[in-house]
Symmetry: D2
Subunit: 358 residues, 4 copies
Amino acid sequence: MNTFGQLFRITTFGESHGPGIGVIVDGCPAGLPVSQEQIQAALDRRRPGQSELTTPRSEADQVEIQSGIFRGETTGTPISLYIRNQDQHSHDYSHIEHAYRPSHADYTYDQKYGRRDFRGGGRSSARETAARVAAGAVAQQLLLREGMRASSYVSQVGAVQVPVGYEQLDLSLIDSNLVRCPHPETAEQMADLIRQVRDRHDTVGGLVTGVVRGVPAGLGEPVFDKLHSELGRAMLSINAVKGFEYGSGFSGVLLFGSEHNDEFYTDESGRVRTRTNHSGGIQGGISNGQDIYFRVAFKPVATILQPQATINDQGEAISLAGRGRHDPCVLPRAVPIVDAMTNLVLADMLLRARSNRV
Amino acid sequence: MNTFGQLFRITTFGESHGPGIGVIVDGCPAGLPVSQEQIQAALDRRRPGQSELTTPRSEADQVEIQSGIFRGETTGTPISLYIRNQDQHSHDYSHIEHAYRPSHADYTYDQKYGRRDFRGGGRSSARETAARVAAGAVAQQLLLREGMRASSYVSQVGAVQVPVGYEQLDLSLIDSNLVRCPHPETAEQMADLIRQVRDRHDTVGGLVTGVVRGVPAGLGEPVFDKLHSELGRAMLSINAVKGFEYGSGFSGVLLFGSEHNDEFYTDESGRVRTRTNHSGGIQGGISNGQDIYFRVAFKPVATILQPQATINDQGEAISLAGRGRHDPCVLPRAVPIVDAMTNLVLADMLLRARSNRV
Amino acid sequence: MNTFGQLFRITTFGESHGPGIGVIVDGCPAGLPVSQEQIQAALDRRRPGQSELTTPRSEADQVEIQSGIFRGETTGTPISLYIRNQDQHSHDYSHIEHAYRPSHADYTYDQKYGRRDFRGGGRSSARETAARVAAGAVAQQLLLREGMRASSYVSQVGAVQVPVGYEQLDLSLIDSNLVRCPHPETAEQMADLIRQVRDRHDTVGGLVTGVVRGVPAGLGEPVFDKLHSELGRAMLSINAVKGFEYGSGFSGVLLFGSEHNDEFYTDESGRVRTRTNHSGGIQGGISNGQDIYFRVAFKPVATILQPQATINDQGEAISLAGRGRHDPCVLPRAVPIVDAMTNLVLADMLLRARSNRV
Amino acid sequence: MNTFGQLFRITTFGESHGPGIGVIVDGCPAGLPVSQEQIQAALDRRRPGQSELTTPRSEADQVEIQSGIFRGETTGTPISLYIRNQDQHSHDYSHIEHAYRPSHADYTYDQKYGRRDFRGGGRSSARETAARVAAGAVAQQLLLREGMRASSYVSQVGAVQVPVGYEQLDLSLIDSNLVRCPHPETAEQMADLIRQVRDRHDTVGGLVTGVVRGVPAGLGEPVFDKLHSELGRAMLSINAVKGFEYGSGFSGVLLFGSEHNDEFYTDESGRVRTRTNHSGGIQGGISNGQDIYFRVAFKPVATILQPQATINDQGEAISLAGRGRHDPCVLPRAVPIVDAMTNLVLADMLLRARSNRV
């Protein structure tokens, strides 16, 4: 359904072209300073029209706090965040009212519910993720107090990939370019590729790498709510995501156990660490205090401005081309969404871990 | 926690070396024929000691039905399945009582709970998955009535991989060899590799490919409980899993939108289909009636019969070698676990979809 | 927390004097005709200022549908209903900023959360129930399709009680008077009592009797989610409720088993019925097809326009009198809230029962 | 379903005449000393055959701990408690296989699930509550550490009631007589009444009063999971319960607000208290630090050893009399069940309150 999280819990609502979208954040502890500006800043990283690499459709995505915050702090009651849709009536969607766009959710929503709000994809639109980003900004405030910081970045677009691991990057550079890739040379190549793809009316996918630093040992709730299974579920719930791996991930299958195991040692400061981190900071589903890192695969955007063969809701063959303004590549705007989902999972696990001991 | 599923819901319990392990299946509809033999057959595929490629430790894993089934059919009340541990007192685990095995959950359990049942890994042992397999056998009966069949197989061990896609394999051959790979030549190479690794006291990982046929359009509950995010979460909750991808997965990022999109058409029988299936049978988080397929990455088993550097619970450097009988490669025994989790997710989604329309 | 229901699930938000209050209805099946007018009609029964017997404070409580309904029907996606607060800035609440009103939630919110939005009671205000009434109107549409109708009425105010059982009343008269009591003579006495109490700046409590007709046998989910335990929980979550009983209730303890048991018989139409209905239409937590009936006790409103001894948040003794416009008796306005909670419980149970059999 | 609680969560299973019944306790914090003896002691208070006032059917109800406890303390993993049924094959239930006993769950289970395990009532038997009592004993250990103690007692049997409130009773006397009523003279009258009723093959109901002392301010999770709504739901889920009230309860409707309000004051030790406690220790759904008290109404047992008119599963009129050994009055054995549910609710709320503040 539309709720995520056990203790730090969000419920999102809204369609792409209805009056607006929003989220209820329930279970956020009282006494957390939260400002409209913090939430807006997160939304600004996701909003359409932010650069020449994303959709030229521009929406301000102005957030309104409707409840739960009093005198600048959370009160322990549900926080409602609302974003009005600005151009809800401006487009004509009659061309897709009865058509099933390839690799979209049109056909499956119709099969499931017997109907759909077809305007701009309705509920299946990635616009829903703006609500997640707003909620994630609240979760982030909670984590920052505990010294945890999630940073994600674009590590691959099409075949162009960052040649080094996250440990060798300066993550403060993520927002220094339009692609949100902290490896400047690669970022330029990625931008070039996105422009090429855009100009030939096509789209391209890529990878986002997520990194979380400062996570204390002990977060994650075995056996089913392991930290990485909740992270994976969270990422896979983002539109266009096709895969998730953490630590050594898929490439770990090429190592033998003797190579893959992370030896423990105690560093000079007396802190327990591992010499390698194939575990990705998570062992047995519980954080071990090392960096958490993972990768998320995004497929190329399904809406392309070229004619494609498909069918209508009568099963008849038709040709259909995307219209309007769309992202040639979602990766730059996916970064704040990955950050948000990471923050939401960690905030939930942080609260859940408070019950681990008497 | 230890519960999985919303409507078809399981709760597992038990430690590796306590009296036994088990599972409560709650929410299974009444009137489903379920036999002890069906559940036992599933457990027999997972049990240790089944072949020379797995751990030589042999346990019968005999299941007892404690409730919920009357005169051979489910009654709608909770089904309790229990498996007694046979060799609970036979081993000496004092060497790991105070040691943190590399890439195990010893350290993280201690950090989280302030203690752990160290015998055989306690709750973090993969023995817990036997309970899932028992529950999955019940879910499977529900799905078979609806024409759905989940089949998974070993598609890669170390660097040895099946050279063709699942569509070109005869999935009825999965159990025709010890590896559970339906491509006989590759299975032999895999078996050879496992034997070599075993003989040098090392371990090796690999991939399981899951396939589900006969799934009707309409299963999956956006936006957070998408079919693939629940599948991913389920797989990632299995011990040793490091990654999950469905459909085109990670390799989909190398395709452009114009290549990746799955065109719809109506076949001669009037059924809606897609010409390609990069979507992996799921669009917008909802099944579209095509085959569902996905891949799950398993790391090499962490327990190796070689000395490794690590620390004890005082933070002191020690050397530790695994003892006893362990799997050099979990993949053959992972297949029934992947099947079980697939069946559990689909059974839950099947029931949840009953509320989609008035 | 702020979510109620498993499959037909609501999440409410908002404070008495914030920008507004609202509710997300998640899990409502697609294809249900729902109009703004239906929801507004339910809200109008609850709104303040509707008669001389309730608070003279007048709010329009105009509902806005923000999502989930397209072309007049539900789409299966979350339905967001929002009610703007009209007079959010009009009052001065400084007198209670640091005071603990007797029998209010001021002290307990402060103890729990370390702070509270004191304006008009903030989240603890009964204003929150407007959101429930809006959601209940959606649930009601679902139930009416299935022939179920919940009706509740005021059966007691102070010591003035309806002298007959619900079976002897014409429930279509509930809204024929300001008290919402379908026994006209008693309604007049109740109204008189409320006026007297109001004029002496005091308050009075009473009982609401709930009746549901047309419920099919089979609703309710043992063992913990019995139909009556969910109804009881729902009613007890309403502000000012102190007790719940169903069927014979507390007076049933005075009967012997031989008197209390409800004999089954088959009526002339072949329908199974019971000769008495001490069971209140529920046996073993599951509806049996007879009328469901229950009673809900409301304490007198805690806000009285008289000085009372209490303390401030420094623990110092103070005297405090209520200010502004308050209900001398909540019972007339409680009726639509009881209806709403009844509808929400039944809608949830209706959907849950869809999974009872293969 | 069969799960209760959010963080301290139990799942029960088992039928009256299957192999056994049991419970999984999930979410219990690690490090809590728990012994088999503590659990057994709670079960002994509930077990049949404990006195001449209860059913002469005798079962040892021996509990086995199957998981979750290591070296005498909880480990944070699920605790499985199992009670084997001793006389599962000893009775003949063919007389009720096709009959619908009045005011039992036979008819409703059949209507809901299309079948039922009729032996001894199957899942609808109050035998299920033994599992709750076992789990409640674990919860109790957690609460005792925090200074909370739940005590309940029989306050009314038929028309015989304790003439004073709980404050005037010595609750250490509860187990000093067979009825579990701490007012010795009344206990004797109750015992006499129960014997009379038993001898004329009838049954009688009554009230249990629950008292909880030592609860800190701040427990309970508005708006839907108020402390009293969770208590009410818990009590109403117990077999034969028809009503729940807390604090002033139903009789509170006879007071005016000026009489009912509980004035706050600071006592000589600086502790905030109320002069009266009509609130029953709960305000706005949150504990306020005063005693919590409530009353639970139990109907007379439905099984009577007299012939009654009813129908069979073909709808045909039949006469049916109870057989075997049954309780003439459940009240004495209901006391440990009320205690258990109280402990379970409070343990859950205790853990949930850990997330209330940053």
